[in-house]
């Protein structure tokens, strides 16, 4: 991909979950199972999925908090070392409750050693204004602010070191609807102003649809569909994408009248299936599903839209 700011190449992450008496790992949780992804400069990439899909682990890998068990993460920035910041889901636990807000915002600078208090206070004031907080309240503590304001503080902190990429991990899930709208607008504005690249991780399809240029749908540690947001959501190719979108409640549309089916259990990632990961929940299963599936373009005309389902392989005779 031209002008990619970041490339993930066959990333696998697994965690030991059971150790024997000698400390050797006996069982593993396979959080990421082969993630290949490039992120273009200035875009917003949405990563959507449910529990156990690996999106949280992906955030940790992007932030450098979790080294991949296999595979490589390559940053293409001028400065060599990547400047990637993160905004967490919970504005309560992501801010130290015993630090005044101006210190929280400028902590990245303190870490780097640029630490004159007067300069830092001024910087905090400038950043606060950018995120819509009044500089008069910077001496206060996080618990004196509302959830939306705390999230603004977290965003200001992310901006403090002038990053290239910001990972947004469920940035609005803990917020009210009206506050969510304000934060989304703020994020848009900041992206325009600072040419930021966003990686937006969320389970909220509406927010992802609204904010992302491209979308990656994750299931059991793999990307099952990747492409332009409008295209993917309008005509879902992968059966899981279809299932996911079908389940999103639509304003005004009543619940379907049909009887409740067996409620799906989201799969565990201890033992990975030998074939397609989605096989036991898929209504389209057919010959060929018993093999591991690859992420491939839907058609030769749209190489950017990729699906992990052999039914779209243009090599194979049966199409959709």
């Amino acid at each position: 991909m031209p002008d990619a700011v970041l490339t993930l190449d066959k990333i696998h992450v697994r965690f030991p979950v059971k150790r024997d008496w000698r400390g050797q790992a006996r069982a593993w949780a396979h959080a990421l199972n082969g993630v290949d992804l490039s992120v273009a400069r200035g875009e917003t990439l949405g990563v959507v999925g449910e529990s156990g899909c690996g999106k949280t682990t992906l955030a940790q890998v992007l932030m450098g908090l979790q080294p991949p068990t296999q595979g490589q993460l390559r940053w293409h920035t001028d400065r060599g070392r990547p400047n990637v910041q993160i905004v967490f889901q919970d504005p309560q636990s992501s801010l130290d409750p015993r630090l005044p807000v101006w210190k929280i915002i400028t902590e990245p600078s303190y870490v780097k050693g640029e630490a004159r208090e007067s300069a830092m206070r001024a910087r905090a004031a400038r950043l606060a204004e950018q995120v819509g907080l009044s500089p008069d309240y910077l001496n206060r503590y996080p618990h004196e602010f509302s959830g939306g304001q705390r999230q603004r503080i977290a965003i200001a902190r992310a901006l403090a070191s002038d990053p290239d990429v910001i990972v947004l991990d469920e940035p609005t899930s803990a917020l009210d609807i009206s506050v969510q709208a304000q934060i989304i607008n703020l994020l848009f504005e900041l992206q325009r102003k600072h040419q930021l690249t966003y990686i937006l991780i969320s389970h909220n399809v509406s927010v992802i649809r609204h904010m992302s240029n491209r979308i990656a749908v994750m299931y059991l540690g793999q990307i099952v569909e990747l492409g332009d947001t409008a295209q993917v959501l309008a005509r879902q190719r992968h059966p899981y994408t279809r299932l996911l979108l079908d389940a999103v409640p639509v304003l005004g549309a009543p619940l379907p009248e049909r009887a409740v089916q067996v409620i799906p259990e989201l799969p565990g990632n201890r033992v990975l299936p030998t074939g397609c990961f989605f096989l036991d929940r898929c209504v389209f299963r057919t010959q060929g599903c018993e093999r591991r599936q690859q992420l491939k373009p839907v058609s030769t005309d749209t190489p950017a839209h990729r699906v992990r389902c052999h039914r779209y392989d243009h090599d194979e005779p049966d199409g959709k």
């Binding site: 932030m63 801010l95 870490v111 780097k112 004196e144 509302s146």
Partner: protein, 290 residues
């Protein structure tokens, strides 16, 4: 913009503290008792005309009276002034032990929790060894080994208290380490030293403060116990435990000798314990009014 009123932070905090106090009569009582004993200790020379060490063999073992509020001991020293001056030893020991043990213990605990791995394991197993010996026994053994004096008693009590703080601080550190704000700090390149200085110490503080306040009472009791068996402050220094020990010989007929120092220990220890409980309740997040 922010939700709380913009009055002066200090006066708001003080009046809020007073509001909390009024809702917790036990803590108020504890506070009153402590203040009384501290005043007694500080203002001892003003509160009594008698020299606590002045021997007056003509007035031995007198019962409480207007001249001697608590009576006199077997060499005629005024017990009231000895109790007042004794407060200095006891409260002094209590505060020293609490502060020093908590300071040293927390620092060790925090660093142990942050560094982790084998260093952490070694430190914790050492602490476990110390904690496996009953604390009174260990304190007495240490004090005896160091030699009988008030200072050595303080050292002994302090050393035996340190492992409690190490364990407490380490536990707090382990949970603070998992908090999102520490992860965020790691992502902008913060090293362990920064994390300890900026995040761990100040967040681990509240339970340590509570433990410290409760410990003062405990340390006072411990110092009195050592004094009772002769390992604390030596004669002629007035010390509550030693006074109770001396008074044992005269318990049947001269009840006042052991009783008043005993009551002093009781009142002081209860006072600190009540305040410690109150501080814990105040700092307990579930009690916070939304």
């Amino acid at each position: 913009m922010a939700v709380t009123p913009a009055t002066s932070h200090l006066s708001y905090s003080l009046s809020y503290f007073w509001y909390q106090l009024r809702r917790s009569p036990m803590m108020l009582l504890g506070l009153v008792l402590i203040v009384l004993m501290c005043l007694a200790a500080l203002l001892a020379p003003l509160l009594t005309a008698h020299d606590p060490n002045a021997i007056d063999l003509g007035n031995r073992l007198l019962p409480p009276s207007a001249a001697h509020f608590f009576g006199t001991d077997e060499v005629g020293r005024d017990l009231f002034s000895r109790v007042l001056y004794g407060a200095r030893q006891s409260i002094g020991v209590g505060i020293f032990v609490a502060f020093v043990a908590s300071a040293i213990g927390s620092v060790i605990g925090c660093f142990s929790g942050v560094i982790g791995r084998s260093v952490d394991r070694i430190i914790m197993r050492t602490m476990d060894i110390v904690l496996s010996v009953p604390s009174l026994v260990l304190t007495m053994a240490l004090a005896a080994a160091l030699g009988p004096s008030l200072f050595n008693a303080m050292i002994a009590i302090t050393i035996v208290r340190i492992p409690y703080y190490v364990r407490l601080a380490r536990g707090q550190t382990l949970s603070i380490r998992e908090m999102a704000y520490v992860q965020a700090a790691t992502t902008f390149g913060a090293g362990r030293s920064h994390i300890v200085r900026w995040h761990v110490l100040r967040n681990a503080l509240p339970p340590v403060i509570v433990q410290m306040t409760l410990d003062i009472g405990n340390a006072i009791l411990m110092a009195a116990a050592l004094g009772f068996i002769g390992l604390g402050a030596q004669q002629p220094t007035a010390e509550w435990g030693a006074m109770i020990a001396s008074g044992r010989n005269f318990l049947l007929d001269q009840w006042w000798y052991s009783t008043f120092p005993g009551v002093a220990i009781l009142v002081t220890a209860i006072g600190f314990n009540l305040v410690g409980d109150g501080v814990r309740d105040m700092l307990d997040p579930k009690q916070k009014v939304k």
